[in-house]
């Protein structure tokens, strides 16, 4: 029983990390990406390959995930410098769709649909095993807190202000001397590396990855977490991640719902929540007011 809740909590923490990263893009910089699952996936593959072929040390694997996602996130930064708003959403959609095909086709690296199986249990400092879900959960919690700390340090200070300025008016931000290209790129790289780390932890948690976990649906799910909790708030993405990770689990505990309809019901609830939230509380559950954004 405890193990089950640990596994759910672990998943919530992993999604929490990814959602915090997406919030840097969406909430702070106004870059509305629907391609977050791409970088979640890139991190997962990078970590899994590192674990299988080199060492399952979690720090090394997360480092690899960070490095690879940081480089590949430039694919997202590039359109972000070219277009804004609706155009960028569609561009990120395009990236997500192309990446899904690439994940499937780069079989030498990703194993295609067959995926990568047999990802070893992680260790830390080379020897100490993190093989039990509880240990992995504690490690992930540590990473989450670290990630929150970094976000807090960045977003509450000049970097956050500069991103906010860009989000609200790019031209005016330039006029007060902000290097918009550099700032946007930094924000995209930073946000995507969170997804990369989350993906690495995900790979260790599930111990098997294939492209089905990195689809547009997954991007939509992470985005919903951010929006549900409150884009631009510190804790909103976490609240969203916890709720949306636990929702399906909670629904299965409801006796009156026939199991065949759980999936449909769950989707229905997701969708309806998004619609109602946008109408009545667009700032999210944690967001301060409804008028903003």
């Amino acid at each position: 029983m405890i193990t089950y809740f640990v596994s759910l909590a672990l998943l919530a923490v992993i999604y929490g990390i990814a959602a915090i990263g997406l919030n840097i893009l969406v909430g702070s910089a106004g870059i509305f990406s629907l391609a977050h699952a791409v970088f979640f996936g890139v991190g997962a593959y990078a970590a899994a390959l590192m674990a299988i072929h080199v060492t399952p040390d979690i720090l090394v694997c997360c480092g690899a995930a960070i490095g690879v996602t940081a480089v590949l996130s430039l694919c997202l930064a590039f359109p972000a410098l070219r277009v804004r708003g609706e155009y960028f959403v569609v561009a990120s959609l395009g990236l997500q769709m192309v990446a899904a095909t690439v994940f499937n086709e780069a079989q030498g690296v990703t194993g295609g649909y067959g995926g990568l199986a047999g990802i070893p249990a992680p260790t830390i400092f080379g020897t100490f095993s993190l093989g039990t879900p509880t240990r992995l959960l504690l490690t992930s919690l540590g990473i989450l807190l670290l990630g929150l700390g970094v976000v807090l340090a960045f977003m509450r200070h000049s970097f956050g202000r500069a991103l906010g300025a860009i989000r609200d008016s790019e031209i005016a931000a330039r006029a007060i001397g902000k290097n918009v290209e550099l700032l946007k790129t930094t924000a995209v790289v930073l946000g995507c590396t969170y997804a990369g780390v989350a993906g690495a932890l995900f790979a260790f948690d599930i111990a098997f990855i294939n492209p089905e976990s990195f689809t547009l649906d997954q991007s939509g799910l992470i985005l919903t977490m951010v929006v549900l909790g409150g884009a631009g708030t510190l804790l909103g993405p976490l609240v969203g991640a916890v709720i949306l990770t636990l929702l399906p689990a909670l629904l299965t505990f409801l006796p009156m719902v026939p199991p065949t309809e759980i999936g449909t019901l769950q989707q229905f609830i997701y969708g309806l929540t998004m619609v109602l939230l946008m109408i009545f509380r667009p700032a999210g559950l944690v967001g301060r007011r409804s008028a903003r954004r």
Partner: protein, 289 residues
């Protein structure tokens, strides 16, 4: 012959994207609503059609029902979701997330009522005949061609020749003009949603006949239509049509040139290229935002 065959296949899918894209473009131009739930309209319309035919009703009643349901759904969504959000000066993103949510609601509702497997209506019109050696064309292809030309022509001439249409067009140039044209903004947005949604009915009917329609089909068609609208240039009817055909050709052409599994990605690669090189699309005005 393979080339011609692929061009025909590309045209057939491209025209359907074009109709979807044109509807989307019209709505976006006139109301600035990024109507990502246009795909949900498509699904509702398609199921209305299939259900009518499964009930044994004649084709024209099915088509009429598809049209009615599409328009009704578009108007409903505008009234219940978009307008309340816009009243609060919601950002485009708020609208987008709400639209995204609506797509999921419709999809799961359809799954609940109709099941997930594709629904199709058999018809001899979709069965290809060999018109030239090795060149197969289904009777439905010319029908699609005619329907697409008629509906796009009708919408284009409406926008060009009627005063209401002119004002809708002016709206996309400068939204502040709406009252100057003596058009009630609420009426204008309903008009755009009505016409735009009606344009989703022909593709829905035709896809239901050729491919079969399933609850998840809307999201897929919408993605590609969105891409085609951007490639063509948002807000331009001609652009949406050109973009749709271009993407239809790219998708099918990729099958001929590259390996078959790249066909889906091909459309999005074209999209990505446009966003990087020419974000305003083929016919779009320069983006100033």
């Amino acid at each position: 012959m393979l080339v011609i065959q692929i061009i025909i296949a590309g045209l057939q899918t491209g025209l359907l994207y074009a109709l979807m894209g044109a509807g989307f473009s019209l709505i976006f131009g006139a109301t600035r609503v990024f109507h990502a739930a246009h795909g949900a309209t498509f699904v509702v319309s398609g199921y209305a059609f299939v259900t009518c035919l499964k009930l044994g009703l004649p084709l024209w009643i099915g088509a009429l029902a598809a049209m009615l349901f599409a328009v009704a759904f578009g108007l409903l969504l505008n009234a219940l979701v978009y307008r309340p959000i816009q009243r609060d000066r919601g950002s485009f993103f708020t609208v987008f997330v709400a639209a995204f949510g609506s797509v999921i609601v419709v999809q799961s509702a359809m799954e609940f009522f109709f099941g997930r497997e594709p629904q199709t209506v058999g018809s001899s019109m979709t069965r290809s005949v060999e018109v030239l050696p090795h060149l197969f064309v289904a009777p439905i292809f010319p029908i699609i061609l005619v329907i697409a030309v008629i509906s796009l022509g009708a919408v284009a001439s409406f926008l060009r020749w009627t005063s209401v249409g002119l004002s809708l067009r002016a709206l996309s140039d400068s939204p502040s003009l709406v009252e100057a044209f003596g058009l009630d903004p609420k009426k204008a947005s309903n008009l755009a949603f009505g016409i735009g949604s009606a344009l989703a009915a022909p593709p829905a009917i035709l896809i239901a006949m050729t491919n079969g329609i399933n609850p998840a089909a809307g999201a897929h068609v919408m993605l590609i239509s969105l891409a085609s609208t951007i490639v063509g240039g948002i807000g331009s009817l001609v652009g949406a049509v050109a973009g749709g055909i271009l993407l239809g050709l790219a998708e099918n052409g990729a099958i001929a040139v590259f390996d078959t599994q790249w066909s889906e990605a091909a459309g999005f690669v074209v999209l990505f290229a446009f966003i990087i090189i020419r974000p305003s699309g083929i016919f779009g005005a320069r983006i100033t935002r």
